[in-house]
Amino acid sequence: MSDQDLIASDIEAYLRQHEHKTLLRFITCGSVDDGKSTLIGRLLYDAKMLFEDQLAAIEADSKKWGTQGGEIDFALLVDGLAAEREQGITIDVAYRYFSTDRRKFIVADTPGHEQYTRNMVTGASTADAAIILIDARKGVLTQTRRHSYLVSLIGIRHVVLAINKMDLVDYSQATFDAIVADYRRFAVQVGLHDVTAIPLSALQGDNMLQHSARTPWYQGPTLMGWLESVEVDSARLQRAGMRLPVQWVNRPNLDFRGFCGRLASGRITPGDRVRIQPSGRESNVARIVTADGDLPFAVAGDSITVTLTDEVDVSRGDVISSAEDPPEVADQFEATVVWMAEEPLYPGRAYLMKIGTRTVNATVTEPKYRVNVNTLEHLAAKQLALNEIGDVKLALDRQIAFDPYLSNREMGGFILIDRQTNATVGAGMLRFALRRAHNIHLQHLDVNKEARASQKGQRPCVVWFTGLSGAGKSTIANIVEKKLHAAGVHTYLLDGDNVRHGLNKDLGFTEADRVENIRRVAEVARLMVDAGLIVLTAFISPFRAERQMARGRVAEGEFIEVHVDTPLEVAEARDVKGLYKKARRGELKNFTGIDSPYEAPESPELRVNTAQSSAEEAADSVVARLRELGLIG
């Protein structure tokens, strides 16, 4: 009895049957030209997943945008955002849902355009199986090789080679056989061994649900038949060593300490001896706790809460594992990375790495090579650009528990996160830990300004306060430093107090000494910018030439001149240190504003007036300006 009949006659029986359906997630690889959208649309249509209003909408859409001359354009079923629809392209990963009498399916659909590598890797990362589409008229193309390589890289073991548009080659067996033979040579090369080739016409429905009378020479499964019967990897994962990455520690009261997580592999039973990695401590499983009562066991994929028999220290990021077969622990790895951001991967830069439930700092070395995804050639590379794939070495700031990606996706797959934008910039797969002899020699890394700044998660610069004595430079700079510090920014404030007594104690107040004073301050500021700091300087620095010199010591955009523009009368009236009085009495020579000129900046990055606003307000405007310039987050 089919689903539809059973639904009508005995809904309770149908629900019991449907409840026992398994789930298969798969990805379709190919471009619109191969008929990919048509294929997915046809699967949804044949699985009766379309309602009348959707069909009506599709029919209307088909007339407006369709390419099938008014016939239903199945491709439009799988179309998404309005912007894309207008451009006639898809730009991302979309997920579709349907079910048959035997299984429920989630399809990841990815477009065949520039962002292809990123999108396909994303869609494939959660897939159990892949359909690689080929246009029978064109055979194995460059993109077919690329799709196959990516499917293999992401570790999908079950693949259909869907040779589509057979109607356009008169259902020729010779054509089909030639393409299959051509493809198999390549598939073995990339490590795909379980490949089933099916001759199809998604448009006409041949070999989709039923064997087509037009391909009597084909004896293999239909596409739907294959999807309904292909093994999901659960059995293999359940046989693997037990791994429970701890997500959250549940402590409702002092008597209960439950460790929550989703079992990445294996099987767990109360009484099991477990080892907590990376610490290596051991204990036994006491209970597997759920809201519906304790469980006798749990298997890979289950979200569970376990308690242990001993009071061991376990926190988020640790992995509870089988004591006989624990995961390795290491802090240096060789890994394959897929780059997903516009800004390239820079060797030496620190990224956040999220693996399982652990987030650590990771530094990437220069790539060993990058892979030409079309030819599989290994090419020399200094960095990885968007959609490039390469092998790198990773150094972490602490030890983690892991398994190689090929044996356990959950324990070996990771993402890289930019520390400043928080964007996900890369995805990677751990291949193996580096032994001591292979340790990364960090001195070989290019530790430069960028690397240092990146480790601090900031953009370095000099904020150069200039103005008359008593204008409020030090006061404002101090408040700014406090605010930046509170926001987690690494700073240093250079002013008369900490420079004149040490570095510059040999200098007096002659014009030559004042020039030398500023030259030294500018050099120190430059070194500190090189160290990745945001440097604040508070010196009268009366001469334009010296300030220009200081500006020239750092890169463009790194010098922020702040003119603390307090009128002489106001500064003199304040006279905090009594210097103006001394100067007026002639006891101080070359005093700026009295007997030595102050050359006001012509176009500072910011001008603040402390006669009109408080020091606090002035400091706020400095911080706001830095934010505006993109120097702080």
Binding site: S234, R251, A291, S303, I415
Partner: protein, 299 residues
């Protein structure tokens, strides 16, 4: 042993809920009282058992929900022992925004879209769980499970983070937030089947009963209280109806139905020929409207 599709979906939902609690400072669960919210709440109880879910519930209220929904809201808050926050946009209250005078678009925008942003800002929540599903609507098929929002709550479809494996990137800067959809991968059938299997309480309006309705523009509207403005000559009549989705009662279309048990509702749904959102009038206002609403911050 093979886990069923519902077991896999449940495990995924629980993992998502826990991940947010572990990584975010001030999460909240948006509670709309509908069936998707009911499932999400049930998952939350399972995820944190024996602790209560470590976040409050937030209902962005429009004052125009069905009375039966308000009764359910009170009941759930009491049973769960969770904090329930109710937010009514004070400007909408002051202006008396309603679907009759202002139309569905203004009503929904002011009460729900603006109200939600106000509530999130007011309580400074940095993560909000929502019960949206990818199969509901085309523009949602590409939505991430962790959907990043700017400080202005805007959703930029072009700069969403790639989501790989089960690794969710919940990092954000001060003022930015994420919307998290734990039941993204569920279909309408999955939701119903799970409610049935787990015995999850739902608002009785989902089951057919005799209710006073009028027919307007081909849509059956329930006259739930005396604020309903009858057109001249309109007379409420009793019909056996149920609702496929619940929202503001003057904006929710009913369907005539005999299905007064959950299996019967599922049966009708599976044999039906119109999709779920058709009963929800806010989607009709303009093409690709859901995508536009999302960019403006609705969900």
């Amino acid at each position: 042993m093979n886990r069923t599709h519902l077991q896999r979906l449940e495990a995924e939902g629980i993992q998502i809920l826990r991940e947010v609690v572990a990584e975010c400072e001030r999460p909240v669960m948006l509670y709309s009282i509908g069936k998707d919210s009911a499932v999400m709440l049930h998952l939350a109880r399972k995820a944190f058992y024996p602790s209560p879910p470590p976040f409050p519930l937030l209902h962005v209220d429009t004052t125009w929900k069905f009375r039966a929904m308000y009764e359910m809201r009170a009941r759930m808050a009491q049973e769960l022992g969770m904090e329930l926050l109710v937010w009514q946009n004070p400007e909408a209250v002051a202006q008396g925004i309603n679907p009759f005078d202002h139309g569905s678009q203004v009503h929904t925008d002011v009460w729900k879209t603006q109200g939600l942003k106000q509530a999130l800002d007011h309580y400074r929540f940095d993560a909000a769980f929502g019960g949206a599903r990818r199969d509901e609507e085309k523009s949602r098929a590409k939505e991430r499970i962790f959907s990043f929002r700017t400080t202005q709550h805007r959703w930029d479809p072009k700069s969403q983070r790639p989501e790989l494996w089960n690794l969710y990137n919940a990092r954000k800067r001060q003022g930015e937030s994420i919307r998290v959809f734990p039941i993204s991968n569920w279909t309408e059938l999955d939701v119903w089947q799970y409610i049935h299997r787990e015995g999850i309480p739902i608002v009785p309006l989902y089951l057919a009963a005799e209710r006073p309705v009028v027919v307007r523009n081909g849509t059956l509207l329930m006259v739930d209280d005396d604020r309903f403005r009858l057109h001249p000559g309109e007379q409420p009549m009793l019909k056996k109806v149920r609702f496929r989705t619940l929202g503001c009662y003057p904006l929710s279309g009913a369907v005539e139905s005999e299905a007064d048990t959950l299996p019967a509702v599922i049966q009708e749904m599976l044999l039906a020929r119109t999709s779920e959102r058709q009963g929800r009038m806010i989607d009709f206002d303009q093409a690709a409207s859901m995508e536009k609403k999302k960019q403006e911050g609705y969900f």
